[in-house]
Amino acid sequence: MIEFKLPSLGADMDEGTLLEWRIAPGDALRRGQVVAVVDTAKAAVDVECWQDGNVLDLLIQPGDKVPVGTPIALLLEPGESAETAPVPTAAVPAAVPTGRPRISPAARKRAAELGIDASVLSGTGPQGAVTLEDVEAAARQAAPVDRQAAMRQAIGAAMSRSKREIPHYYLGETIPLGAVMAWLATHNAELAPERRLLPGVLLLKAIALALRDYPQLNGFWQGGAFHPAPGIHLGVAVALRQGGLIAPALHDVADKPLAQLMDELGDLVQRARSHSLRSSELADASLTVTQLGDQGVDSVFGVIYPPQVALVGVGRIAERPWVEAGRLCAMPTAHFSLAADHRASDGHYGARFLAEIRRLLQAPDSL
């Protein structure tokens, strides 16, 4: 028997509120299947299962808020049955009754007016029915919770921890992007607008390819030691429209063609802004890239998102005076920065990594 525990969906999460189960006792599960939707300080996240199995029991109900690591469901491993499976030692709460939740018509109507999902509330009416009063109590409770404030606090906690624990070093380099921009102009000229590539995608690909040769920057600092990540999953910092920041992972960037990355990036940004990210996307990022080019700043020196060990910042791409082969010219350039954890690498290593990015960006055909 497996105790499915509430996973940490990032360094800034220490508890979560179950919004919805997507599984019921008896369901067969496949690895990667979405089992629940959990609200963190930042977003509602689809939590995925990490192995095959069968659902035996659900231990918490929608609306429950539990710390990371709390068992939330019992799963049977393939081939196990409820009778033969060893019961975990921890006390198991009584089975949660399944079926249609009892919600009074008045509660249903009011919940619709208030935009509250009454089916996740716990009821105080006859036979546990959700009553009008329960909905109004939930509305009163929900109102003062300010998602922006909560997100600010979550970011603040993670960044404070980063600055407190991680000995950062910073490097910066202006990289010429003439070749990239020329290649892009030619490439996009033949494509319909929706299929055109943005420069950011090429930069992400170059960073990912460079990481293949510099694995000390792609991974996590945990338990006093560096652990390289199993894949190159770039955290893409996305500014949310209502404020705040989230950095979901774009998976296996080094292995995917540009067009696919473009599609996946668009999808990821859109889902980040509509609060429908998957747990792996929030937990997996192995190095974060923050591009503040849109905002027009020349450089950005970021704070590492723990437990990652490095962050690449990219400033605005603009034509700037540039000297090449002794001649002055106008050249599109961008300032790349690296913030890295001194426990996992040093400046020399970091400088070679930036140089590799620069080298890759001079040959856009190879990206």
Binding site: A106, R108, G123, A129
Partner: protein
């Protein structure tokens, strides 16, 4: 404001009607020399004479039918039937003639008859004198059904009933005759609306007639537990005053009906159906009802009490509706 009883209030209503309109007369078994089974008409024979206060033979069919004929002939008869159980003997003229004639004559004839009768249990009179069949009469189109539960209604409903061009049946609960209290002579009495007898926020308790006192007692007890009960006295069982019911349920979101009739096919069932039809989305709990056990009302006191709606049962049903069962 005068101190009086329900019985005396009914008698005052009769006396006033007899005095105001020479077409009004009272007839029924023992209404004259004996003064009425429940002593409601005591003294009226001496005051108004044998032409106006008429004892009848022991035949509900004949004297109710005679009342219908008198009404058709221009009189304003008040017919007293001892208890609702006996009125079934007169169901044929009541339903097939009195209730239908306006419709069947294309509006040419109407039957301005008033029929008074005792209903309900609680006085150890056993099954044949104790049933609450007013819900059956409330099923019949063309009849107006009244259930006075207060001194004011006992006093005041008769005259508007006599003004009504169609048959009106007045059901007097037999436990109310000895009810004593202060009658407000200035109170306006109509025969079309329900009344809120006690205001409340959490629960609408709908009842009428002999159950009103129990409902108010239950509401008082529930108030002590912090449950605020609104008590509605239906007063008119047919046609029902939906507007008052719905206005109350929209405030309280919960409905409990107390009805001394048998549960299946009861007036309580009709009220719940209407509230669900008109206010399903206003409700915060399934409507509930406290009715009589579906047995002939027993003679033995403890069995009779067990068969009827009682305060503890009403209180328990109310708690259940609020999830505090």
């Amino acid at each position: 404001m005068i101190r009086t009883t329900y019985r005396e209030a009914l008698r005052e209503g009769l006396r006033e009607a007899l005095a105001r309109d020479p077409r009004v007369f009272l007839m029924g078994e023992d209404v004259g020399r004996y003064g009425g089974t429940y002593a409601v008409s005591k003294g009226l024979l001496e005051e108004f004479g044998e032409q106006r206060i008429r004892d009848t033979p022991l035949s509900e069919l004949s004297f109710v039918a005679a009342g219908i004929g008198a009404a058709l002939g221009g009189m304003r008869p008040i017919v007293e039937v001892m208890t609702v159980n006996f009125s079934l003997l007169a169901l044929d003229p009541l339903m097939n003639t009195a209730a239908t004639l306006r419709h069947m004559s294309g509006g040419q004839f109407s039957v301005p008859l008033v029929l008074r009768m005792a209903t309900g249990a609680g006085r150890q009179l056993a099954a044949q004198h104790s049933h609450s069949l007013e819900g059956w009469y409330a099923h019949i189109p063309g009849l107006k059904i009244l259930a006075p539960a207060t001194l004011e209604d006992a006093r005041g409903m008769l005259w508007p009933a006599l003004q009504d061009p169609d048959p009106v049946l007045i059901f007097e609960h037999s436990t109310l005759y000895n009810l004593e209290g202060v009658l407000d002579e200035g109170a306006a009495v109509d025969i079309h609306s329900a009344r809120v007898r006690r205001e409340g926020r959490d629960l609408t308790l709908v009842t009428y007639g002999g159950s009103l006192g129990k409902a108010l007692a239950a509401a008082g007890q529930l108030a002590g537990e912090g449950i605020s009960v609104e008590v509605i006295d239906l007063r008119v069982l047919h046609p029902l005053d939906d507007a008052t019911l719905m206005a109350s349920v929209r405030r309280t979101r919960r409905l409990l009906v107390v009805d001394e009739g048998w549960r299946s096919g009861s007036l309580a069932a009709e009220i719940i159906a209407r509230v669900v039809e008109q206010g399903f989305y206003e409700l915060d709990a399934p409507p509930a009802r406290v009715c009589s056990q579906e047995v002939p009302v027993p003679y033995a006191k403890h069995l009779e009490e067990a068969a009827l709606p009682q305060v503890p049962g009403i209180v328990a049903a109310a708690r259940e509706l609020l999830g505090r069962g």
